[in-house]
């Protein structure tokens, strides 16, 4: 391969990661699995931020944004898992399609 590693390669990895995360989100019923998919998507986004910081015109603030994304991911994971644990105690399931008590 003659092509040297550049911005495009990183972005392609990020795109693949994003699509995989999306696939995980849309196919899984288990809420925790959905969360994992979301984490993959967030990671994909972060790779983009960092790659543009390195290669693009963006200065270091890209990395700052990535830091915020990580912070949000942490908060999100904590809250989501708290909810999942609560749901599990109440309904004995973590599958999102079975959590439909309000439906009827």
């Amino acid at each position: 391969m003659a092509v040297h590693i550049g911005l495009t390669q990183f972005l392609v990895v990020s795109a693949i990661l994003f699509s995989l995360g999306l696939y995980g989100v849309i196919t899984r019923k288990n809420a925790i699995m959905v969360l994992m998919g979301i984490e993959l998507i967030l990671n994909a986004a972060n790779i983009n931020f960092v790659a543009f910081t390195r290669y693009g015109a963006m200065n270091i603030s890209g990395q700052v944004v990535a830091v915020f994304v990580i912070i949000l991911a942490a908060a999100e994971a904590a809250v989501l898992l708290a909810i999942v644990l609560n749901i599990f105690q109440q309904l004995n399931t973590v599958n999102v399609d079975e959590v439909d008590n309000l439906k009827n």
Partner: protein, 703 residues
């Protein structure tokens, strides 16, 4: 603005806002704070201390006549054909402001102190103190304002706090009625005041006193309109200062607690009217001043005559107050500006003292106000008695008292005025009121303190009031001695007070001034007797006819008034103490006059028959018009509309409802289709969203 000036402005703001802070504290947390009364009283004493500092600084150390602090409150920008609409507000301190600050805070703090005992155990004790604080705030606002707008606002605040305080014991019907009466009668005057302000504002586009005076001096407002504006603004003073014909509220206001009467209805609020005239004095024309002088004189006379026939101790004092206020107004009207203001200050001290003294008596007599039930209290209440005597001597104008100084100045001014203009009625009334004043005051003293006790049971229980009540009396009594105002007991001219309160330069056009002022301006000089050269090169000697006349009649007037006062006192002793003339027989002999006076010249009845009945008649006719004409039109319209609505109802039913039902059916159809998409699962939505993005991307890729 020099540093000391801005310090004074800051301090003035502090004085203004301290009572407000106290009010806020008490009205919201009054129940929860122990000894709220002491807080409010303490605040007032702090304000007093600051006020004294301001006054000393301003009167003795600052040469410039006026410290002004103005800020732009509202700027509505320029309009078409209009130079622009801005409103400036602010405060100003000149000598009369500084003196008024001290007067207001002094009387207020003494009244606070007095009330500690007098109001003890009252159901709404903390609210009472809150209102007192609120009143002090409003009154200080009037004093400090440098513009009509703020003054009007504070003017109304004073009205409301007076209303609240008169109606403090609102369970009593007479008290709540009196509050309403005071409020409504004041409103009548305030309407005039407001119209006056509006005349000034529409002509001069400013509310600032300085701006108004400057505008008048430049001639932007003159002639009959200026006179009208002056008289209308004076209307406000007529209401607040209880001048004829709006004096009827003040005696009724005695239903409020006695310390309130001392504070509001003797020393400060009623003085606000006089203060207002003093404030706007430069813009008053000779015609307006003449009206003012006559109103003042009439008020003084009418109320003095009524006072003689009253038996309620507070009513006597109330009419006496009205009478004295009439004096002040008259003094301003006859161009004796300094004398009028001087009397305002001295009167504030001794009249507040009289009211507090009467409060002390009433307190001792278990809230008995009828003098016929009193008597012989001299032995029981020596401090109250002796201070009362000092106040009475002062109000009667006996030498060595402050009242003598100020009253003599007024009488001198009125005499000079009478001599110069030929309006002899005014000095005649003025001097006759001296006699009446001395007589009714000593009638009051004799009935209350001398002779034998008439209600023995109450007499037995009466005793001297506690210290917090007597101390204010002593303070006020000492302030009724001449030395505080002038070191010469016979002529106050060279005392610091009249030195610092000088008549402001009138700004009205020359032809609208009193002739002597006119002359003076013509000669472009301030001090009579000086020589100079006019622009055209003529040598001249300045004169001031008024001033010279004053000096000429000084001793005549002095002895005349002294003789009349002593005669009044003598008469009082003759009738009521030594009983040389039987009071009852005298009463029988002049029964029609006595009845007339006892019923207060039937003013209330007159107003009841004219104003109130007229209003009722008018409203009845309006009611008839409403019931027959307007209702008829309305009913006809209703019949028409009913017809029309029946028509439109059928249209609604068939056409509009049809459309609505169709759209609902159509929406339902769509919804049944789209429901399939709405799964309730977030994941499906994500898929749709992303597919949407992709579709949009490919669609726009074409361009």
């Amino acid at each position: 603005m020099s540093p000391i000036d801005s310090t004074l402005i800051h301090l003035a703001f502090a004085v203004l806002l301290l009572p407000l802070a106290g009010f806020t504290l008490l009205i919201f947390f009054g129940k929860r704070i122990p000894r709220q009364d002491l807080i409010e009283t303490g605040i007032l004493f702090v304000a007093l201390a600051i006020s004294i500092y301001i006054m000393v600084q301003k009167v003795f150390f600052i040469a410039e006549p006026r410290i002004d602090f103005t800020f732009r409150w509202l700027d509505l920008g320029a309009l078409i054909g209009h130079p622009g609409f801005t409103i400036d507000l602010g405060i100003a301190i000149d000598n009369i402001t500084a003196i008024m600050l001290v007067v207001v805070t002094l009387i207020s703090s003494l009244v606070h102190l007095f009330s500690l005992a007098y109001m003890e155990g009252d159901v709404r004790y903390s609210r009472y103190y809150a209102y007192l604080g609120f009143f002090s705030f409003s009154m200080l606002g009037i004093v400090l304002s440098n513009n009509f707008l703020m003054m009007y606002a504070f003017w109304e605040l004073v009205g409301i706090s007076s209303y609240l305080l008169i109606g403090h014991w609102y369970e009593k019907k007479s008290a709540s009625d009196a509050g309403k009466k005071a409020f409504i009668v004041n409103r009548i005057g305030d309407v005039g005041f407001f119209i006056g302000i509006m005349i000034v504002f529409t002509q001069l586009h400013t509310f600032l006193f300085s701006g108004v005076f400057a505008g008048i001096a430049e001639g932007h407002l003159s002639g009959p309109l200026l006179t009208a504006a002056g008289i209308l603004i004076f209307c406000g003073a007529v209401g607040k200062s209880a001048q004829f014909p709006l004096h009827v509220w003040l005696p009724d206001a005695m239903e409020g607690p006695t310390p309130v009467s001392a504070l509001i209805h003797a020393a400060t609020m009623v003085a606000a009217g006089v203060y207002l005239i003093a404030r706007v004095f430069p813009m008053l024309t000779a015609d307006a001043l003449t009206v003012i002088a006559y109103i003042g004189a009439i008020t003084a006379f009418i109320s003095a005559t009524i006072a003689i026939a009253q038996n309620d101790i507070k009513k006597v004092l109330a009419y006496s107050t009205v009478s004295q206020l009439g004096y002040m107004v008259m003094a301003l009207g006859v161009d004796a500006y300094s004398a009028g203001f001087f009397h305002l200050v001295t009167h504030a001290a001794f009249k507040a003292g009289l009211f507090l003294g009467s409060g002390s008596v009433i307190y001792a007599m278990h809230h008995e106000q009828d003098m016929r039930q009193m008597g012989g209290l001299r032995k029981k209440m020596p401090i109250t008695y002796w201070t009362f005597v000092v106040f009475s001597l002062s109000i009667s104008g006996i030498p060595l008292t402050s009242g003598f100084l100020s009253k003599d100045s007024i009488l001198g001014g009125s005499l000079a005025y009478g001599m110069l203009t030929g309006n002899y009625l005014i000095p005649i009334i003025g001097y006759s009121v001296v006699f009446l004043t001395a007589m009714y005051m000593f009638r009051l003293i004799i009935m209350t303190f001398h002779g034998e006790p008439r209600d023995v049971h109450k007499y037995e229980h009466a005793k001297e009031s506690p210290k917090v009540m007597t101390i204010p009396l002593i303070v006020l009594a000492s302030l009724s001695i001449f030395v505080f105002y002038s070191f010469n007991p016979l002529n106050p001219e060279k005392g610091w007070f009249l030195e610092s309160v000088t008549k402001p330069e009138s700004v009205v056009p020359g032809y609208q001034k009193y002739s002597w002022d006119f002359l003076q301006v013509k000669l472009v000089e301030k001090h009579p007797g000086e020589t100079g050269v006019t622009n055209s090169g003529e040598t001249f000697v300045t004169t001031n006819a008024y001033q010279m006349e004053l000096e000429r009649i000084h001793y005549t007037g002095l002895f005349l008034s002294l003789a009349l006062a002593l005669l009044g006192i003598f008469t009082a002793f003759l009738i009521y103490d030594w009983k040389k003339i039987d009071a009852e027989k005298l009463k029988q002999r002049v029964k029609p006059i006595h009845t007339f006076l006892y019923n207060k010249w039937y003013f209330d009845e007159l107003y009841g028959a004219t104003a109130v009945a007229g209003t009722l008649l008018l409203s009845k006719s309006f009611a008839w018009f409403d019931a027959h004409v307007i209702d008829g039109i309305v009913n006809g319209a209703a019949t028409l509309i009913r017809l029309w609505s029946r028509l439109s109802g059928s249209f609604d039913h068939y056409v509009v409802d049809g459309l609505v039902n169709f759209s609902a059916w159509f929406t339902g159809l769509l919804g049944r289709g789209l429901r399939k998409v709405q799964t309730g699962r977030v994941q499906t939505y994500i898929v749709f969203a992303l597919l949407g993005v992709i579709v949009i991307f490919y669609v726009f890729k074409q361009f």
